[in-house]
Amino acid sequence: MTAALLEIRGLTKHFPVAGGLFAAKGAVRAVEDVSFDLFPGDTFALVGESGCGKTTIAKMILGLERPTAGSIRFKGVDIVNAGRTAMLDYRSQAQAVFQDPYASLNPRLKVKTIIAEPILAHRQERGDVLGRKVAELLDTVGLPASAAELYPHEFSGGQRQRIAIARALALQPRMIVLDEPISALDVSIRAQILNLLADIQEEFALTYLVIAHDLALVEHFSSRVGVMYLGGMVEYGPTEAVYANPAHPYTQALLASVPRPDPDHQPPEGMISGEIASALAPPPGCKFNPRCPRALPICASAVPTRVSPRAGVSHWASCHLLSQNTNT
């Protein structure tokens, strides 16, 4: 196992909720004690429904939010309390592509300025060397060099996402965080962007951290997956293993609920019930217990520990059902 590119340990983020003078002061527990590793060349997908904390984790990894607790180490260097130079060095190796192509590009800037921004920030090339680099990047993402002189409003959603990818590639980073890269695009355009992302991963030996809610997409695109529920990671493992035999009841319910383009597929009943709880007052013990069809009494009191359903493969889930079976 080569050394991990990114190590996340006990990552936690609580957003204080101003309760005013009299009301009790609460906190939204957006992310709760999440740990995982990201290996070079991997495409690790963080998957889960809205409010599970996957985007907050991405923001903390990108240094846009400060964690309440826990550590984030990139190539062994802690980036949470990194100094200016260490942070700048990290920035040159970790870039991002966000969900909404219309909000990712400043409408007032020309495409060449947008793509060159990271290069200018690290004061690398200048003048016509920079011009050539921008043209090269545009070509890599399948856009004509003439696009450099145009403004974002002159492009479609798919083309704008290509520009955002070109910008992320500008510094030849080691890792790119993709926050729902295609969910804002039309169905026919999504495949273009997914294929582009796969091609450049190979060409530039990139490592991806993908944030997504579309489980079919995750199966196609990722090599490793982490399933999140209400701020905590409930299952982690290679994509094939997790999809072949999901260990956690929530993962099973998720996979069963995915709509399939097959008229004869009927989602099984009773895999999951009720609504997601509020992150302001998460249920005690395992957070999924109120909705879990096979909840045990212990689930409402004790927080489950990680258990690997099969030895060897780094595939684990935190669920009492598993720990009951293995040690009985």
């Binding site: 700048l88 991002a96 990712s104 409408p107 007032r108 921004e117 011009g131 500008a170």
Partner: protein, 295 residues
């Protein structure tokens, strides 16, 4: 490949050209404003008479088009026989000076404070906002009265008062703009790219704020002119022999029954100036607001 300077982008100029034709109005108000500026700069040269020149024999002459009026005094004369047209032209100078100073002082101070408060937030923002609340809790005219009571009223007092009171208006609006811009994805991506705060302000925040400031400044011209006129009307702003539209109205008030034109015409000057600057301001706001533009 020039480094990104925040020149007004091509889109801005194209936007302007495209819009001018659409609503003819700005041409009318644009030229009106130009007239006032010309009057303010070259007042003495083009005014037919000396604004303060007494001529008791020609007191209360009605405007030329009314019988009894004469072409020498196009808009008639006041109780001391002074030519109303010349005084209106002279009054333009005061209004422009007040407007210019006000915009520069309150605009720059307010915008800076608004940007700092909006971008850094936290305690800095809370303190500044309390300052703004305190400032806003005293109506600007009341504050002006207090200062006028303590200092001797003059043009500089008026400018000081405006600078003290109107900066909050800029600070609040710029702060709101920065708060919303700060959350934009492309600002977060600029941070991820490694840009420092200065670059982010320079490339992403300032261009938008500039547009808002331009709109605010044009809208403020009208308000400031009316504020000066009100103060001068109360006798606490411009003092004669300086000429101000407000002062003209104050003098004319006692002769309201005898000379309708002395009470009406300076007011019309104020109205036309404010109306045209507001129209230019509104038109600029529509030009910069993408939502309203494409319909």
């Amino acid at each position: 490949m020039a480094e990104a300077s925040p020149r007004l982008p091509r889109g801005f100029l194209a936007g302007l050209r495209g819009r001018v034709g659409a609503t003819g109005l700005p041409w009318v108000s644009g030229t009106m404003l130009l007239l006032v500026v010309v009057a303010a700069l070259f007042g003495e040269a083009i005014a037919p008479h000396d604004p303060n020149g007494f001529n008791l024999a020609a007191a209360f002459k009605p405007p030329a088009w009314q019988e009894g009026g004469s072409l020498a005094y196009l808009l008639g004369t006041d109780n001391l026989g002074r030519d109303v047209l010349s005084r209106i032209i002279a009054g333009a100078r005061v209004s422009l000076i007040v407007a210019a100073y006000a915009i520069v002082f309150s605009g720059v101070i307010g915008a800076l404070i608004g940007m700092i408060s909006g971008y850094f937030g936290g305690r800095v923002d809370a303190v500044i906002m309390r300052l703004v609340d305190i400032q806003m809790s005293i109506p600007s005219l009341a504050l002006a009265l207090m200062i006028a009571a303590v200092l001797s009223p003059s043009l500089s007092t008026v400018v000081i008062v405006i600078a003290i009171t109107y900066w909050t208006w800029y600070a609040r609006i710029v702060r709101g703009e920065i708060l919303s811009l700060k959350e934009r994805d492309y600002v977060a991506l600029a941070k991820v790219a490694g840009c420092g705060t200065a670059t982010i302000f320079h490339r992403h925040l300032l261009p938008n704020v500039m547009n808002t400031l331009l709109v605010l400044a044009t809208l403020q011209v009208g308000q400031v002119i009316i504020f000066e006129a009100s103060l001068s009307f109360l006798g606490l702003g411009i003092q004669s022999p300086e000429v101000s539209w407000g002062l003209m109205l104050a003098d004319a008030r006692n002769y309201i029954t005898k000379a309708w034109w002395t009470i009406t015409l300076p007011g019309v000057a104020i109205m036309l100036t404010c109306l045209s600057s507001n129209l230019v301001g509104d038109w600029l706001r529509d030009t910069f607001d993408p939502k309203r533009r494409q319909l």
